[in-house]
């Protein structure tokens, strides 16, 4: 009578369950990887946009594309880069690493974590839906054409008819909710979920820096969200926040945007600092130099960066004392930043430096971030900025930070933690090819991009007249892109190939010291079978060197 039988799941059902497993997951590691993969896809998309723009600008008066298409491309390139590449990839790494490094089994709010990821994901997809929302695709479809900081009143219906701007507003609103959710989660996780023995003073620097970043996200995203709501009301409900015809103030938008926009730069760069602060010591074989000073400097940057936003507005016509104030606050940021660079330098000093690929990217970060920081001081000098702002010099400066700094840091992080995430090593040989070709491409493009700015070339122009002396510099800039594309292709190939065929990593391939290397690669669900107990900042050092543990000195 009983017809109970065991049915084996069909292969198809199994693959369906794998997909469902990822779609429904609340595991911080899977969510972290989804953030990272999502961001990599958008990195490729924004890279393609950059390639098209660099073709158009390679020579004066080219007609490769129309002005309308170009204006849409740079808007999408900038918006994508900040909100759908840099933020998700950094939040993704944080998501993956923070619980592992503090000995926790997941984030504090796993469901909120999944919710935050999907909000960010929908935001990006929604932004790109604008391409299909009107107009010819060759002209950029219905994509927004207002620049990534979307100054009013260009965003008003009179000057931006159609719905491109609405797509832009809504996608950032949605993604902003995701970022705030992620930030709440980071703060709660780091404050409440650390394993026994891990006081705040024994927490890895990566966790500290993610804590500061999360705090800044909470403060900075809110004004952006508020501004988007006001702009929405202006466009649809007839309010006049930014409408000059009815007494509204376009300058108000600038303040709202940049009080988000400048902390945002640090929200992106501090997680990159975090990678450097973890990778540099391991490959120098030394403890990080000046841990308390690094924490203080990070927190200092977090606070000071909330008071520097109007250095984006030196040409807007603020009173002289207003300009002077923001010169001072901006220059003050150089002090904690300098402390960091010197501490990293001191970490290298007296070490035994191993030039593995993660370390190469970190060392390049140091040199390039130094240059990006120094051009930042030039831009902080308001009179110099009157010449440099909105020119190609400023474009070169922030790409130096975002590509030469943050992206190099992210590449370092990939080579360092890919073995932990997948259980397999990335090829060192391909990694070195990737590194050197990227270095060449980066410097060809972004070193030479400074020059047309000094020669008076404004940003966001789809073409320029011959006779301005900008042609040759733009040509070199565009040629550098070829090298960067080659480097990225090697990187992608390396990841795909190594995922299937790479050398097996083992738990601790780099002989490192933080808790993520104490578990298997990839880590099991819930990370640790028994929750670890730590006595110092480098728990694995203590285990490896029982004769000379860190806790005797800290």
């Amino acid at each position: 009578m009983a017809t109970d039988s065991i049915t084996l799941p069909s292969p198809r059902a199994e693959s369906r369950s794998v997909v469902l497993d990822w779609l429904c997951t609340v595991d911080h590691k899977k969510i972290g990887i989804m953030y990272i993969v999502y961001a990599l896809i958008f990195l490729v998309i924004m890279g393609c946009e950059a390639i098209l723009m660099r073709i158009q600008l390679a020579r004066p008066e080219l007609h490769f594309m129309t002005a309308a298409a170009f204006n849409r491309l740079f808007t999408m390139h900038g918006t994508t880069g900040i909100f759908f590449v840099a933020m998700p990839i950094l939040i993704g790494f944080g998501n993956y690493l923070v619980p592992l490094m503090i000995g926790a089994r997941d984030m504090a709010f796993p469901r909120l974590n999944a919710f935050s990821f999907w909000m960010t994901a929908f935001g990006g997809i929604f932004l790109y839906a604008s391409f299909f929302a009107g107009g010819s695709l060759l002209q950029g479809g219905g994509a927004p054409a207002v620049g990534w900081f979307a100054y009013a009143p260009l965003t008003s219906p009179a000057f931006s008819p159609g719905h491109g701007t609405d797509f832009w507003i809504l996608s950032l609103l949605v993604a902003g909710v995701g970022s705030i959710g992620a930030a709440v989660n980071f703060v709660a996780t780091i404050l409440c979920m650390r394993c026994p023995g891990m006081t705040l003073g024994k927490m890895p620097l990566l966790a500290w820096m993610n804590l500061v970043t999360a705090g800044m996200i909470l403060v900075a995203i809110s004004p952006l969200t508020a501004a988007q709501l006001m702009l929405m009301a202006d466009r649809f409900l007839g309010s006049h926040f930014f409408d000059p015809a009815a007494g509204g103030q376009p300058v108000l938008w600038m303040h709202f945007f940049w009080i988000f926009g400048h902390p945002e730069v640090y929200i992106l760069v501090i997680p990159a600092f975090a990678f450097i602060s973890e990778i540099l010591p391991v490959f120098s074989r030394k403890a990080i130099f000046g841990y308390p000073a690094m924490v203080a400097a990070t927190t200092g940057i977090g606070f000071v960066s909330l008071g520097v936003w109007a250095h984006h507005m030196f040409a807007v016509g603020m009173p002289s004392y207003g300009n002077a104030f923001f010169v001072l606050t901006t220059m003050v940021v150089a002090v904690p930043t300098g402390i960091k660079i010197f501490n990293w330098l001191a970490t290298l000093w007296g070490g035994k430096i191993r030039f593995a690929t993660p370390m190469l990217f970190c060392l390049a970060f140091l040199f390039q971030f130094l240059i990006g920081g120094l051009t930042g001081i030039m831009l902080a000098t308001a009179p110099f900025d009157w010449q440099l702002t909105n020119s190609y010099f400023v474009v070169a400066h922030f790409h130096y930070i975002i590509v030469g700094g943050i992206l190099f840091g992210i590449f370092g992080a990939f080579y360092y933690w890919f073995p932990k995430m997948t259980g397999r090593m990335l090829s060192e040989k391909l990694g070195k090819w990737h590194f050197w070709i990227m270095v060449i491409g980066f410097h060809l493009t972004f070193d030479f991009m400074h020059v047309p700015g000094l020669l008076g070339m404004p940003r966001r122009i789809y073409t320029y007249q011959a006779g301005r002396g900008w042609g040759v510099w733009n040509m070199i800039t565009s040629i550098g892109v070829i090298f960067q594309v080659a480097a990225i292709l090697i990187f992608v190939y390396n990841m795909v190939h190594s995922y299937f065929k790479g050398a097996v990593a083992g738990n601790d391939p780099w002989d490192a010291w933080t808790l993520e290397w104490a578990t298997t690669s990839p880590p099991p669900d819930y990370n640790f079978s028994t929750v670890p107990t730590v006595r110092s900042r480098r728990p694995l050092w203590d285990i490896k060197h029982p004769e000379d543990p860190d806790w005797k000195y800290e």
């Binding site: 009143p153 376009p250 501490n343 001081i377 009157w386 010449q387 008076g456 320029y464």
Partner: protein, 351 residues
């Protein structure tokens, strides 16, 4: 043996580096005679731009020095402390930090910041709070999508796209003060050799000033993204000797030439509604949306500095403006070839 060869290589690299440095210096020196660019910010020719240039050079020196020191330290550390082939396998001595060193590299940058801030604040004050002398030439510049209107309130006329100002010499100081307004979206007035940029923002009047030291033409362009044709919103500043400037002012003050031979064109200018946007003083055309055409033929360029003002270009422009300058707001107006010729002929009399 190997060591020796390495040294030879280093010497050769050093010599090559020196050569590159020297040739770079020479080409920069040569740049003063044959300029790198007509919009080079390091070739200032007006007091605000020169003040900016001096503080820029100072900042470049300081940041350059910081760069050399920190770069050398980093490079030294990376080379000196690399893991050797004959490594003993032990971890290096672990150093956790040093309060004295932290203090040193906190205080030193603080001192540099203080110096930089004080010298910067001084220049901000000098440029931004400069008092307008009673005899300054006044111009109100109004940014439009995608052209510039210049009103001369002291002389009661306005013109477009080509700003004329008198030269200012050590003997006869003659600055021009510009009030910057916008008719639509944000723009930015940037003529790199004369001054830094200042934005034109609706509901937020700004000012800037220039006192060019040499007669000639200074180029620039809008530096705040303002819409489709932003790239072709170009700027031209004509700096003239005082007598040339007075002659130009006198000519601009006159009403438009009334040439009876182009009466048909003049009628068409009304019939085709051109007058709704353009002003031709002395006729009923008093539109404010587009450039003032009273003395159109006194200008070297059309379409905001994009094209030389030749009869062919003018005709091509009137025939279909957005086809010439993508995004231009002047519409294509339906007219026959003959009408086009007649309107162009009329405009060519507006000397």
């Amino acid at each position: 043996m190997r060591k020796f060869r390495l040294r030879g290589w280093v010497r050769r690299a050093w010599r090559a580096g020196l050569l590159v440095l020297c040739s770079a210096t020479v080409s920069f020196a040569a740049a003063n005679t044959a300029p790198l660019s007509p919009t080079n910010i390091f070739a200032p020719d007006s007091t605000p731009a020169q003040s900016i240039f001096r503080i820029s050079a100072f900042v470049l020196e300081i940041t350059g020095a910081i760069f050399v020191v920190v770069f050398s330290l980093l490079a030294y550390a990376v080379i000196k402390f690399r893991e050797r082939k004959d490594d003993d396998g032990f971890e290096p001595p672990q150093v956790y930090g040093s309060n004295q060193m932290e203090l040193a590299w906190t205080v030193l940058p603080v001192l540099i910041v203080v110096v930089l801030f004080l010298s910067t604040a001084q220049v901000i004050h000098r440029v931004q709070d400069a008092r307008e002398p009673a005899d300054a030439v006044q111009v109100t510049a109004v940014g439009h999508q995608f052209w510039w209107a210049y009103e001369y309130p002291q002389y009661k006329f306005s013109t477009a796209n080509e700003l004329h100002v008198p030269v200012s010499t050590a003997q006869a100081d003659q600055p021009t003060f510009l009030k910057l307004l916008s008719a639509d979206v944000d723009h930015s007035f940037w003529v790199p050799r004369l001054a830094g940029k200042t934005d034109l923002i609706p509901n937020h009047p700004n000012t800037t000033w220039i006192d060019p030291h040499q007669p000639g033409i200074y180029l620039g362009q809008c530096a705040q993204f303002c819409g489709t044709a932003h790239a072709n919103m170009l700027l031209r500043v004509y700096v003239q000797t005082p007598s040339d400037f007075q002659r130009w002012v006198h000519q601009q003050e006159q009403p438009a030439v009334n040439d009876p031979s182009v009466a048909i064109g003049r009628t068409l200018f009304i019939a085709k509604a051109c007058f709704a946007c353009h002003t031709v003083r002395g006729t009923i055309a008093a539109g404010k949306v587009g450039p003032d055409l009273t003395h159109l033929m006194s200008r070297d360029t059309i379409a905001s500095g994009m094209l030389p003002n030749t009869p062919e270009n003018l005709r091509k422009w009137i025939q279909n403006p957005p086809a010439v300058k993508e995004g231009a707001l002047m519409p294509k107006v339906d007219m026959t070839d003959e009408q086009l010729t007649q309107i162009t002929a009329y405009l060519e009399t507006l000397k």
